[in-house]
């Protein structure tokens, strides 16, 4: 029997075991990577929270961790959802791994114009989908001043057709994240929550 002879060979059995081990390792590493991304996002927020508290208390050149090249500029919280996030100064791919960040070129929250803050849909901004019109978003800036924004609406747009005017009149805020929320691949659509300064 050909089958019996092939299976009987010890070399063949070894190769088969090696294959199983390689596949299993690949699986573990992918899971590990996914968990690492989430853990990094969580841990970074904890460190950033501390760094931001120091910034507010007046320390200069605060780094959340010694080799960090990002700095916190504001802290956002939504009391209804009991969620908060420390916002970073620039929305590069690197920075977004650690927290939501201000899109380059847009003003600071509370300044004239529309401030755009982007965050990952599956980590820091996973709760953006639960925000609703009328919700209050509190933002504390680096000088410790508190500002309250109120959500005026939500919409979905392509990343290059979002049509957010950063030089708009009034002090506005736009929170953006990827859409659809549960997609497993990245796409061109973005979910945009728009808010306006109320005090």
């Amino acid at each position: 029997m050909a089958m019996r002879r092939w299976k009987d060979s010890p070399a063949q059995v070894k190769l088969w075991r090696l294959l199983i081990i390689v596949v299993a390792l690949a699986g573990f590493s992918l899971i590990g990577n996914g968990v690492w991304i989430k853990a990094k996002a969580e841990l970074a927020q904890v460190l950033l929270d501390r760094a931001f508290a120091k910034t507010v208390s007046g320390e200069v050149d605060v780094r959340p961790w010694p080799w960090a090249d990002i700095s916190p500029v504001a802290r956002m919280s939504v009391s209804r959802l009991n969620k908060s996030a420390v916002i970073l100064n620039e929305a590069s791919g690197e920075a977004l791994a650690f927290g939501p960040a201000l899109v380059r070129g847009s003003p600071m929250p509370g300044e004239e114009g529309t401030s755009i803050i982007s965050g990952h849909r599956d980590t820091h901004f996973s709760w953006l989908r639960y925000l609703d019109t009328g919700d209050d978003i509190d933002i504390k800036n680096a000088r410790g001043a508190d500002q309250r924004f109120r959500v005026t609406g939500m919409r979905i747009a392509r990343f290059d057709e979002a049509n957010i005017d950063i030089n708009s009149f009034g002090q506005k805020l736009a929170l953006t994240t990827c859409y659809p929320f549960d997609a497993k691949t990245s796409g061109p659509l973005r979910y945009i929550v728009e808010a306006e300064l109320i005090q």
Partner: protein, 369 residues
């Protein structure tokens, strides 16, 4: 320039007819040559005539460019003539008209619109026909007065005041000072004296004097050689009395900032407006390419503003035209990796199970065989 009568003629029916026919045959061709007309009007055939007053009416609705030349002409050749200026509409500049009348010892009449021409001209002619007080001379006694203006004093017409501004020597007592005015009224000598001891002080008097002083200095610019010296004096007088002149301005600084804080200040040239009521095409002929472009821009802008209320299609168009910020990629591969990893682990488990089953099968058959 055409001259109808070289000298004054009697206003009888025939002469008036001739004049009317002449005026009706005139055709305007754009520009107005004022200097030759003024020069011709100032030529006096009867220089020493003292029983009549020679009155020249300078009437225009055009803009005056060569002010200084016209001032010089009046100042040098006025002789015994009185020059009355009449400006119609918004084009003639009031400074020129007022100053020209002052040099010509006449008055300036401003006519705001065509509908006022009739009534204003009747007022002027009534004034011209009523007896006047001429050859007025003001003399200060008992005090040193300088910079007396207006100089020469104008003729006085019925119902008009005489306003004289003069600088009196500092420290001098006004106890015995007098202002003596003399002139001729209807051919008879006339004289009045006023004591200055009862004069009251007023805050505006200094400014009035300073304005007159500057006006007379400006007139000096034509004959005086040292223009810089004159300019310096004008500036000093204007600064001392806080008035606006050719060399000084009043500046109000609005400290509230109306532009956004992030915008920088910018300098750009703005087109000037024509006098009220003028039409660009009539003045300049056809619009220049620059003007046409600006009309076109304005029209385009209007069309944009006139866009209908937004509908889905328009909104897309607007969105496509507006340069907006691109939103960053905001999804991590974390979930995908975890799921893929789990699937691959499942595959490994299945492979392992397969091997176990095959191994068992092989061993079983081997034992039996």
């Amino acid at each position: 320039m055409e001259l109808l009568f070289p000298a004054a003629v009697k206003a009888d029916g025939e002469n008036i007819d001739t004049a009317l026919r002449f005026v009706r045959s005139l055709e305007a061709e754009g520009g107005t040559e004022m200097l030759p007309a003024l020069r011709a009007a100032l030529v006096d055939q009867n220089v020493s005539g003292r029983d009549t007053i020679r009155q020249v009416v300078f009437l225009t609705d055009g803009a005056i460019g060569n002010e200084q030349q016209l001032f010089d002409e009046i100042g040098q050749n006025r002789g015994r003539s009185r020059v009355f200026t009449v400006g119609i509409g918004s084009a003639p500049n009031s400074f020129f008209m007022t100053r020209a009348a002052e040099i010509g010892r006449g008055t300036f009449t401003y006519v705001g619109s065509e509908s006022q021409v009739g009534s204003r001209m009747i007022e002027l002619f009534t004034k011209l026909e009523t007896p006047v007080m001429t050859n007025l001379v003001a003399r200060f006694d008992g005090v040193n007065a300088s910079d007396v203006s207006p100089n020469p004093l104008p003729d006085l017409y019925a119902g008009e005041p005489l306003v004289i501004a003069a600088k009196l020597a500092a420290g001098g007592s006004l106890e015995n000072a007098k202002l003596a005015l003399s002139g001729e009224f209807a051919g008879q000598p006339w004289r009045v004296e006023m004591p200055l001891s009862g004069a009251a002080t007023g805050p505006g008097v200094g400014k009035l004097w300073a304005r007159r002083k500057i006006a007379s200095l400006e007139a000096l610019r034509s004959n005086d050689t040292d223009i810089n010296q004159v300019d310096r004096t004008i500036e000093n007088v204007a600064l001392a009395h806080h008035i606006v002149s050719r060399l000084t301005s009043l500046v109000a600084v609005d400290v509230t900032q109306s532009r956004p804080g992030s915008k920088k200040l910018d300098t750009k040239k703005l087109p000037l407006n024509l006098p009220d009521g003028w039409e660009f095409n009539k003045v300049m002929g056809d619009a220049s390419p620059l003007q046409k472009a600006s009309y076109k821009r304005a029209a385009n802008r209007t069309r944009q503003l006139m866009a209908p209320a937004p509908n889905a299609k328009m909104a897309r168009l607007v969105a496509a035209r507006t340069k907006s910020v691109n939103l960053p990629q905001t999804a991590t591969p974390a979930d995908r990796n975890i799921i893929a990893g789990l699937l691959i682990l499942l595959l490994a488990f299945m492979l392992w199970m397969t091997q176990r089953m095959w191994g068992g099968l092989v061993r079983a058959t081997g034992a039996r065989g």
